[in-house]
């Protein structure tokens, strides 16, 4: 059934899968379609785990896809002579291709545990740097102020404009006012759902100054796409100055009636 030409054509189509697959991943970084710049202390261990799994699965992908191509090429009924090999399996092969993947997967499972524990389980012993409260469709922020305590008179309130100091442990207390949201900082390799009724700690250490995106990564309603914030990482001095200025502005605008004049004067 079918001509040799057909067999050649279809084998090559299946060969195109690993060739174009690898090419896509090889070319993507040069178009900046790749892991965004990392600016957190734990980020490199996540990125290197990603690259390690990519290399491992890449090898398995290429080997299995090329084998498939080779078998199609070689055992095309229009080319190969005589009947098919009459074989029902191989106990040895089954054992080999069960034990090797099992060991690899188990190694992978154990290998990554430490990174997971660093990011999600080994919470630094400190009071929260800032409380982030997610709400349809904004990020409400509350800094503890001079007394370093949330819920006191000198708390500083802001929306979507998160500022944090560089090179310091940061502990965020994450809450939600209404539905589920997810606090996603792509450049910090941080993601954590915000759940109504729960206070979830999120911690990291920024390694560079700059401004980066805050994205909501859990569907939260029609305006999910626009639930955008920015996080500005700055030196301790700049951060303190920003805190003082912002707090002063908040105090100045406290009476609602003076709102407009005060911000205009700024």
């Amino acid at each position: 059934m079918g001509s040799r030409l057909g067999g050649i054509f279809w084998s090559l189509i299946f060969l195109a899968v690993p060739v174009l697959g690898v090419a896509t991943f090889a070319v993507a970084p040069s178009y900046n379609i790749w892991l965004p710049k990392n600016v957190s202390e734990h980020g490199p261990s996540i990125d290197s785990l990603f690259m390690f799994i990519l290399a491992l699965t890449g090898v398995v992908f290429v080997v299995t896809e090329v084998l498939l191509f080779w078998f199609l090429w070689k055992y095309d009924a229009a080319k190969a002579k005589g009947p098919a090999t009459y074989i029902h399996g191989s106990h040895t092969l089954e054992v080999v291709w069960t034990i090797i993947p099992a060991a690899t997967l188990l190694f992978l499972a154990i290998y990554q545990m430490n990174t997971w524990a660093d990011v999600k389980m080994r919470r630094p012993a400190m009071s929260p740097t800032v409380e982030v409260v997610a709400r349809q469709f904004e990020w409400r922020l509350r800094y503890p102020g001079r007394d370093n305590m949330l819920g006191t008179r000198d708390d500083l309130f802001l929306t979507n404009d998160l500022h944090l100091p560089v090179d310091e442990d940061i502990l965020i207390q994450l809450k939600s006012m209404d539905v589920l949201h997810s606090f996603f900082l792509p450049n910090f390799r941080i993601k954590q759902d915000a759940v109504p009724g729960m206070k979830i700690p999120v911690w990291f250490k920024a390694t560079e100054t700059g401004a980066f995106d805050i994205v909501c990564a859990e569907l939260c309603g029609w305006g999910h796409y626009k639930m955008k914030g920015r996080v500005t990482i700055e030196s301790r001095a700049d951060f303190d100055r920003w805190l003082e200025e912002t707090y002063a502005r908040q105090e100045a605008t406290q009476p609602a009636s003076e709102d407009i004049t005060a911000s205009a004067a700024d």
Binding site: L105, V179, G197
Partner: protein, 605 residues
């Protein structure tokens, strides 16, 4: 006209109607074509219904892709529907589109086409039974799909539109009627529709289990069953044990919405200025219950395709299945482990991270049986004599694509990597490789393969191969690129992500993917034309056009009521191809024992 229905009609007329009575054409028509208890008619009813919904789901996907590629631009053709917005899509409409795309594809297409269409059509034929154990239950399992069709269909037209909380329907978004447009009547209808699909699946799975256990032909031991039947059997077990949890959770969500209970919302939870029920509950509870069903459901959506692909590969490689028992055990292993991995959907949910570690380990381990299956498929192709039929090409692409879908799962299973790629296009790529590039391609392989048995005619091979080629190219253009999109962290479910600095440069890539998606859907015109043309004008197939071994190929094409001319007796396993010493290259399960071949088979073991 030699279709199933026509031949069953002629038989029915001959046997059930006394000649003296006046024929009652309407009643006869209804009982034969509509309220039929024949498993083959029910299977075809499932097939036609699900293919229609496949089209609807595909068009919904195109609308989703349009918005991602060219946000807020006028929608062609469908734009007339949003005249009030000047032809643009609103964000709530976009949210509804992806919710309903997923819901339709999962609950009205993949699950019913595998278990409903192919399970129904193939189980009695492949085990040598004259019908299902419970024909009436079987008929009801199809007719319970109709309330679901109507509820899902009607939800598009109610105030606020259809459900728009994602197919996962996470509370409190989904339990508060005011949280977003579409969360009112649309979500209620969605939950009721889901319940109907659940009833249908439950009736089907009870029937399949009973039929496979009790109604196998003489000689058909469990380890002589074709892989299709093993897969259907284990899928039915998964359905039977996982579904009650989803049904219960669905009723809890309904109760939260309609009766003001608070299973899934903490006390005093206010969304969009409206109180969410009485409180005292936990949003994570829904996620646990939902994924306790929906993770096994992922296997419900792939295992039958794996089984059918195994049968097709052996037929067109003219070679026994490599490692029959390991294949059976790995399906059982996937099903067993499938019940203890649901937490991997919840690594970022706020669930205790220590619990995440145990789910991570079990998830890593479930990759193992999938790897074993892949290696055995490769072993099956190795040393074969491959016939590149359309059906074989789709089956081979299932293997090729499942490798991608399986391997990309390891990234998400690695919890630290999941922190970054969770809810990005990486996961979208992953499940489309499993469900579209895997299951849908497997379904096409099965349609081209069993079409002759269903309608007595074969589909056109040339146009079948054109259909395969274009679908294969376009699907990879659409879905492979999603991996690198996910590597940037591009989030799913955003109506417009380009206003983020991180993602603003990704529009051209998304436009490319949308063009591929348009090509992919357009290609299906070729399939639909081929399908309907061949139903009436294709070449007559005969009983066994592929020289395959299993029992359905001993029955007439299409089989009449009762399926077989006489009770088939099974003498061997389903994969005896190219047996040395046999007088032909395949020994059917019913062929009487051949001394020479039996000796050779014994020696080969």
């Amino acid at each position: 006209m030699s279709t199933v229905t026509a031949s069953t009609l002629s038989q029915g007329t001959a046997t059930t109607l006394p000649p003296a009575r006046k024929p009652r054409p309407v009643a006869e028509f209804l009982s034969t074509y509509v309220f039929s208890k024949d498993h083959k008619v029910i299977g075809l009813q499932f097939l036609f219904s699900t293919l229609l919904w496949f089209l609807i789901g595909g068009l919904l996907a195109l609308a989703v892709r349009w918005q991602i590629a060219w946000p807020w631009s006028d929608v062609p053709v469908l734009g007339k529907l949003f005249a009030q917005q000047g032809g643009q899509m609103s964000p709530e409409f976009y949210t509804m589109l992806f919710t309903m795309h997923a819901s339709v594809m999962i609950f009205l297409v993949i699950i019913p086409i595998l278990a409903g269409a192919f399970g129904n059509f193939l189980i009695p034929l492949m085990i040598g039974a004259d019908d299902m154990a419970f024909p009436t239950l079987n008929m009801l399992s199809y007719w319970f799909m109709w309330p679901a069709f109507l509820l899902f269909g009607a939800s598009f037209f109610v105030e606020g539109g259809a459900a728009s909380g994602g197919w996962t329907s996470y509370p409190p978004l989904s339990t508060n009627m005011n949280s977003s447009p579409g969360m009112g009547m649309g979500q209620t209808l969605w939950l009721l529709g889901l319940t109907m699909v659940g009833i249908s699946s439950m009736l089907g799975s009870v029937n399949y289990l009973t039929t496979i256990i009790l109604m196998r032909a003489p000689g058909m031991t469990m380890f002589r069953l074709p892989m299709t039947i093993w897969a259907m059997f284990i899928t039915a077990i998964l359905q039977a044990f996982a579904l009650p949890v989803l049904t219960a959770a669905g009723f809890m969500q309904l109760s939260d919405r309609m009766l003001g209970t608070g299973f899934f919302s903490p006390e005093g939870n206010i969304v969009n200025n409206a109180l969410t029920g009485s409180g005292g509950g936990q949003p994570l509870l829904w996620q646990h219950l939902f994924w306790f069903y929906s993770h096994p459901a992922v296997y419900i959506m792939i295992l039958p395709a794996m089984g059918m692909v195994s049968d097709i590969l052996t037929t067109f490689a003219r070679k026994p299945l490599f490692g029959y028992r390991p294949m059976v055990y790995s399906i059982a292993g996937i099903a067993g482990l499938g019940f203890i991995v649901w937490g991997h959907h919840m690594f970022m949910s706020g669930m205790n991270p220590a619990l995440g570690v145990t789910f991570m380990v079990s998830t890593m381990m479930i990759a193992l049986p999938s790897a074993v299956k892949t290696f055995n498929w490769l072993g099956t192709v190795w040393g074969g004599r491959i016939q590149f039929t359309t059906s074989m090409l789709f089956a081979l692409s299932f293997v090729s694509m499942f490798i991608i879908g399986g391997l990309s799962g390891i990234f998400m299973a690695a919890t630290p990597v999941d922190i970054f790629i969770h809810d990005t296009y990486f996961i979208v790529a992953h499940f489309h490789y499993v469900l579209f590039a895997g299951t849908a391609m497997g379904v096409w392989a099965a349609i081209y393969f069993w079409f002759p048995k269903m309608f007595g005619r074969t589909m056109n091979e040339f146009w079948g191969k054109v259909h395969f080629f274009l679908t294969f190219i376009f699907l990879n253009g659409t879905f492979f690129t999603m991996h690198i999109l996910g590597a940037v962290g591009f989030p799913r479910r955003l109506a417009d992500a380009y206003h983020y600095e991180t993602f603003h440069h990704l529009q051209p890539l998304n436009a490319f993917m949308t063009w591929c998606a348009i090509g992919m859907v357009a290609t299906q015109v070729i399939f639909a034309s081929n399908f309907f043309w061949s139903m009436f004008f294709g070449p007559i197939a005969g009983r066994n056009p592929w020289n395959s071994n299993t029992l359905e190929w001993t029955a007439p094409s299409p089989p009449g009521h009762g399926n077989f001319d006489f009770q088939p007796v099974v003498h061997r396993g389903p994969y005896e191809y190219s047996v040395p010493g046999a007088d032909k290259d395949h020994l059917m399960q019913t062929d009487p024992p051949n001394a020479l071949a039996a000796a050779a088979a014994a020696a080969a073991h």
